[in-house]
Amino acid sequence: MPEVKMLTGNESAAFSAMNSRVRVIAAYPITPSTPVVETLSKLIENGEMRAKLIRVESEHSAMAACIGASAAGSRTFTATSSHGLAYMHEMLHWAANARTPVVMSVANRAIGPGWNIWADLSDSLSQRDTGWIQFYCSSIQEIYDTIAMAYRVAENRKVMLPAMVCYDGFVLSHTTMPVELTGFDGFLDEYDPNWKLDADNPFTHGNILLPIYFAEFRHSIQKAHDRALKVMREVEEEFLELSGRRVPLTIEEYKTEDADIIVVAMGAVASEARVAVDSLRNKNVRVGLLRLKSFRPFPEKDIRRVLDGKRVVVFDRAISPGSGGQLYTEIRAALAFSDAKIVPRIVGIGGVDVTKRTIEKAIFERKIWIKEVIM
């Protein structure tokens, strides 16, 4: 039986990185993801984990060091949030375009001003177009499982892209749950890169790209995202075999088959929505839940299959000012030629609590912007 430990979301991320055989970590602490690096520090200094931790002076440098370490052939990890992720923005592009399969945990948090340290997905959704794979977790066990699975996807030779594993700050990062610490032997062994910086086999990486080559490189990244969806499904099956847990990487459906209304959500809000679905089902309302685990690549075909012809309520814990919820916009685009009726709901911005009641009421009250806490 695998060991079960009471862990916070952040500790869960750190233990997963350790068991994923991460060999280089570069990080600069930021709330609410700081305990990830604190835990890894302790594991390394106690000799429980064999890795080099670079205590860099900024998140920009953290990502740069991860890219360098990955390019030189090591499995690499970092953790950040909010302003830290924003500060990495340039290097996030670099990681994706350099095809370095770095994995990063992101404890989602609002971006100031004013200073707000609470949950909000706008930090990672702002990085939507960097080329990174993005997973959104709904439980602490799922954080543990997804980090290892993310390496399997990222390092797959048909993919070779960096991946971020996101979870709502404080709601998941600082709460505690029992976590089954499945070992990853046979599922994720030492990193075996298909290329690396090597003085005996010199090549130049990242020099000037003339337009036609640049276009080709960008096209190859798009194709890698397309292929990643298939790889993700394979990894799900393998992980099920390893752990007995079905951990979705693309979408998760809950009571959708006979549903009239389907709620769409990501992260901790989706966890709460699941409770709301059960509660409404008890009142004979036919509601279902479509949880999006992967925002990039966007599982468009699955979304069309589940949502076509339904009444759809999309919950966003972020907003793109001047447009609306990012998830809503993307879902609407995916269903542009379907019969679905789609409405947006903005909830939980800057850490406003999202309860079962919030979701129940929001489905029927038809308010778009839910800023009060519904008790």
Binding site: A64, A65, G68, A199, P202, N207, I208, L210
Partner: protein, 311 residues
């Protein structure tokens, strides 16, 4: 060391895309020879990222990883850590211009130096932000014309080599493309030391400084002979002048009038008499400061300068 004693094998290939008379390519050619072909180079945005040539070609015969402008020292730290975990002792070398070193890259440089990362950081200083043309950098000297200081720069340059001295790293030195034998020896020496090593190479740029391309070496030497650039080496607690600067310090060679250096380049053609006096004062002050470091050894110099700052 005589130039004829330098390694013959070429690691920077001829026919690369550098300007004629380019000091950076002269320096890189020498540095790569001194490294002996067993190194990984990290290059941020700078002239070198252009003249190494476009994909799929490269003029450099060792692995090169290009990185973002601000990220060179951090990228190199990551590569070094990765190699260390694999038991690989390949030398990791940053090759950056003064824009990427003095300005946008200073934070990462300072961070890597403070962590005493086992890398060699080499800055080729052409005293301009030349990644995008001929703009001012914080390494541009007082009075120099650039395309963002049309009437001459109003501030003195800062000195990153001196900043690095206060980071408690094992090795800091300055070099010049006018003295390639000296540069070669310094890189060879740095290669044998572990921990953070910083080498800064003075690199006169013909299009940027407005002088004919066949005068690069001549002007580089004039900079040292007039005290506008000083060759020194700090290694394991000892600070000393080297080459021509050492001869000047020992009184074996007379320091030339800076006027000869200033009038050799178009970038200083608009200087007034009072501005020339200011440059002479700068040379004098800096020379005395470095003599102070040499005579007091480094730790007491840091204490002294702290006391001076407190009045």
């Amino acid at each position: 060391m005589k130039i004829s004693e330098i390694e013959r094998e070429e690691f920077l290939l001829p026919g690369n895309a550098a300007c004629h008379g380019c000091p950076s390519s002269m320096a890189l050619r020498t540095v790569l020879k001194a490294l002996g072909g067993k190194a990984i180079l990290v290059v941020p945005a700078c002239c070198t990222s252009v003249y190494m040539g476009p994909y799929p070609n490269s003029a450099i015969r060792i692995p090169v990883f290009n990185t973002a402008f601000a990220a060179a020292a951090a990228t190199a730290s990551g590569i070094r850590a990765s190699l260390e975990m694999q038991g690989d002792d390949t030398v990791v070398v940053v090759w950056a211009g003064d824009g990427g070193t003095y300005d946008i890259g200073l934070q990462a440089l300072s961070g890597a130096a403070e962590r005493n990362e086992d890398i060699i950081y080499i800055c080729y200083n052409n005293e301009i932000y030349s990644n995008t043309g001929i703009q001012r950098s914080s390494a541009t000297p007082y009075g120099a014309w650039t395309t963002t200081t049309w009437k001459g720069k109003k501030e003195h340059r800062k000195d990153v080599a001196e900043i690095l001295l206060t980071h408690n790293v094992p090795y800091v030195s300055t070099a010049s493309i006018g003295y390639l034998g000296d540069l070669y020896e310094k890189v060879r020496k740095a290669r044998e030391i572990r921990g953070f090593r910083y080498i800064e190479i003075h690199a006169p740029c013909p299009p940027g400084w407005r002088f004919p391309m066949n005068r690069t070496v001549h002007i580089a030497r004039l900079a040292v002979e007039t005290g506008m650039w000083i060759l020194f080496e700090y290694s394991e607690g000892r600070f000393s002048f080297t080459g021509a600067s050492d001869l000047i310090a020992k009184g074996k060679k007379k320091m030339k009038d800076v006027q000869e250096y200033l009038s050799s380049q178009g970038r200083f053609s608009g200087l007034t008499e009072s501005e020339i006096r200011e440059i002479k004062k700068y040379i004098n002050d800096r020379w005395n400061r470095l003599v102070g470091i040499r005579d007091h050894e480094l730790p007491s110099f840091i204490r002294l300068s702290a006391q001076n700052a407190l009045g």
